[in-house]
């Protein structure tokens, strides 16, 4: 193909659109591998302390609302589906489809964050926000976890607080990723409205899709680890 005939989207340091797309994908996956290590550090720290203080973590987890957690898991999986369909619309060059599915994804993401806001407020009002406002009195008679005032390890309340520190930092960092994702989707909708995408060029949609599915995967692990510690 002569130089003056190539796609207007092809940067000059690439041989072809395909090579350009594959470079973007590789870059995005390297970023996501880095994100795995970023969240991974928190997951490893969580694993160590859960191993060390199993009773306190089980008790603390049972104070979270399983209903909200499960609801949000379903909402986030739905948003992953709509995001996958937005990328598919990009592949098909369907501008209306891109915008429709991105709006649906933004809507579902907002529902998720709204629920998270309700949960955070509840926990704060119950005195479970770590820090000076943390106030927790163990009620050993009501726990299903086999732990009594006599068998409870020293600093039991402190370890309950530790669980909530992990809960707020991990879900908070996850929520921050979702806010960034919503920003990216708004940017994509503006680009789509300006007809910047076509069947042969929709890389930004595809890359945002990868990011969004990664955020979904983080939640897929967070949900059982923070909400389902001790439900039997």
């Amino acid at each position: 193909m002569a130089a003056d005939q190539h796609s207007p989207h092809l940067a000059h340091h690439f041989d072809s659109m395909e090579q350009q797309q594959e470079s973007s994908s590789l870059g995005m996956w390297l970023f996501l591998a880095q994100e795995v290590m970023f969240f991974g550090g928190l997951f490893v720290a969580y694993a160590v302390y859960r191993f060390k203080y199993p009773e306190a973590f089980a008790v603390a987890s049972s104070h979270l609302s399983l209903g909200w957690g499960a609801f949000n898991t379903v909402v986030l999986i739905c948003s992953s589906l709509t995001m996958a369909l937005a990328v598919r619309a990009g592949q098909l060059g369907d501008k209306r489809g891109i915008i429709r599915y991105l709006l649906a994804t933004i809507f579902l993401a907002s529902v998720f964050l709204g629920v998270k806001g309700v949960e955070y407020t509840e926990k704060y009002n119950d005195g479970l926000m770590p820090g000076p406002a943390f106030e927790y009195t163990p009620d050993f008679d009501r726990y299903t976890v086999p732990v009594t005032a006599e068998t409870a390890p020293p600093n039991f309340v402190g370890n309950v607080q530790l669980f909530f520190s992990f809960y707020f930092v991990m879900t908070g960092l996850h929520a921050l990723h979702m806010v960034i994702g919503i920003g990216l989707m708004i940017w994509l909708i503006v680009k789509a409205l300006r007809d910047r995408f076509s069947k042969e060029y929709f890389t930004p949609i595809e890359m945002t899709g990868l990011y969004w599915h990664f955020v979904d995967i983080v939640w897929i692990f967070l949900f059982p680890l923070v909400y389902l510690v001790w439900r039997h």
Binding site: M37, A47, C78, L81, L85, L228
Partner: protein
Amino acid sequence: MSSSTHISSLKSYLNVFWTLMALTLLTVVVAFFDLGPFNIIVAVSIASVKAYVVILYFMHVKYSNHIIWLTVAAGFIWFVLMLGLTIADYATREWIPYPEAW
């Protein structure tokens, strides 16, 4: 075939979606049974299957080239190393008693 030229059908995306929904239900139901130390193992295994399905189909890795496979595997292996070595340390610290002061 590159990841962006393979167009999955609407039906295949819906199949992935229902698989993820079914596994979410399963992980909640299983949590209500007392499996002892296996509760956490089952929960993490189900989450791993869900993540695998998302990576393969939603993230198109099934249709991507080998260097993408390598990057995904590297992310996974390095995380398992970090987790495995750290747990191996903390889980075995008390196997040998601390020496008395001398």
